[in-house]
């Protein structure tokens, strides 16, 4: 037989692809569904850790339950909607009260969303955590590295940015070498945060 059957050349490939697609999509979907809970839990813990980090409150890195406990004890959510409170009232390690606010601004590629921790004097920072950023990996994305975030603790605004490694004064912040625009974006967000915080707290009350 010279010519291959109609079935083989036309119908079979279609059936094959459909079956193959169904099989693989089911497997993939199965795995997706089985990890969905875990993914949601991860995100909620991430946000809680971010708030604690911005407030300068210590927490055991890998103990989910303990993290939840510390969070329950020291943080109060105010306003906003489910999952994204407008701001938080926290009980700082020093005993004082502090605030943690969500704020955001234009980064180089997209929005940078951050949590800033402030003391009630509305001038001193307790810390910062970046919740969302799409900056250049290895450069702008380094704002999420510890050394960059830690420098915000205890600094007093309004801020100025200086060359990496030379920040001395309480209002100076190190930029990231090679990531000028991202650094400037963060500076802008930091300088705006006091205004943002005041507005949110006023609204909340």
């Amino acid at each position: 037989m010279k010519k291959e059957s109609f079935f083989k050349t036309r119908i079979y490939p279609i059936i094959f692809m459909v079956v193959l697609t169904l099989v693989f999509i089911s497997v993939v979907s199965g795995i997706y569904l089985s990890t969905k809970e875990l993914v949601l839990l991860n995100e909620s813990i991430f946000e809680k850790k971010a708030v604690l980090y911005a407030a300068g409150i210590d927490y055991p890195e890998d103990d989910t339950q303990k993290i939840e406990a510390v969070y329950e004890e020291r943080v109060r959510e105010v306003g906003g909607e489910e999952g994204r409170p407008s701001y938080f009232i926290v009980s700082l390690p020093s005993g004082e009260t502090g605030y943690v606010v969500y704020t955001s601004g234009a980064g180089l590629w997209g929005e940078i969303v951050a949590l800033f921790g402030l003391k009630t004097d509305m001038q001193t920072l307790t810390g910062v955590e970046f919740v969302q950023q799409n900056e250049t990996p290895g450069l702008g994305a380094r704002i999420t590295e510890d050394w960059f975030k830690q420098q915000f603790r205890g600094k007093e605004g309004p801020f100025t940015m200086v060359e990496e490694g030379t920040a001395d004064e309480p209002d100076e912040l190190d930029a990231i070498t090679g990531a000028t625009r991202t650094s400037t974006a963060v500076l802008k967000i930091a300088n705006n945060v006091f205004e943002v915080a005041e507005a949110k707290i006023k609204e909340g009350n």
Binding site: F16, T35, G138
Partner: protein
């Protein structure tokens, strides 16, 4: 069960002379981006290894059933599915690293090596051997990138795996964490390897 010798040969070829990366600089795109940190590179390579070996295995399993018209589509579907699985698993179990890897995990699909091995090997060989070939290709690919990542992180940040190794005396070669550094490192790597290979073939010719 294929002969022992054949398994050995299948395993070692992609690691040495026929290393797809050296031979044709294949599949570099998706991983070069994350080689600025050793930790990220290792995770990424595990993902590539998983995809290369399992897709090779699967494609080989059904190779007699795949109609030639839809060959590429079927291969792409299978490879893409495994990559999605990698993405989902990474997101669930190592979310911080997943965030850093960004779109590059998805780009494993377009990794020329995986498709290349599927066409060249998996379609014509039994599943067992294809699995071995997939694993070996994945490993051959991985060690090149791990070496590059090692140097990039070390010279660029003075750290390895996030742990400070070089002391304060070391001024970071920031260029290493930026794209030019990656290209230069890869070029040097290729140079070294080609140098060795060329010498070998010159000696063999004698």
């Amino acid at each position: 069960m294929p002969a022992r010798g054949k398994i050995k040969k299948t395993f070692f070829e992609p690691l040495g002379k026929n290393n797809p990366v050296f031979a044709q600089i294949l599949g570099i795109c998706s991983t070069l981006a994350v080689t600025n940190k050793l930790e990220n590179t290792v995770i990424m390579c595990m993902g590539v290894l998983f995809t290369t070996s399992l897709s090779g295995f699967t494609i080989s399993l059904i190779r007699k059933l795949i109609p030639s018209r839809v060959r590429m589509m079927a291969e792409t579907l299978i490879i893409a599915s495994f990559v999605i699985i990698v993405d989902i698993v990474l997101r669930a179990y190592v979310p911080d690293i997943w965030k850093q890897l960004g779109p590059y995990v998805g780009l494993i699909i377009t990794n020329c090596i995986i498709m290349g091995r599927a066409e060249a090997f998996a379609l014509n060989n039994p599943p067992g051997l294809s699995l071995v070939d997939g694993i070996a290709s994945g490993l051959g690919y991985s060690y090149v990138l791990i070496v590059i990542a090692f140097f990039r992180e070390l010279l660029g940040t003075g750290e390895i795996w996030g742990l400070p190794v070089l002391g304060d005396w070391w001024t970071n070669w920031s260029i290493m964490i930026m794209p030019p550094g990656a290209f230069f490192m890869l070029a040097i790597f290729v140079w070294v390897v080609k140098g060795v290979l060329i010498k070998e073939s010159e000696e063999a010719a004698k």
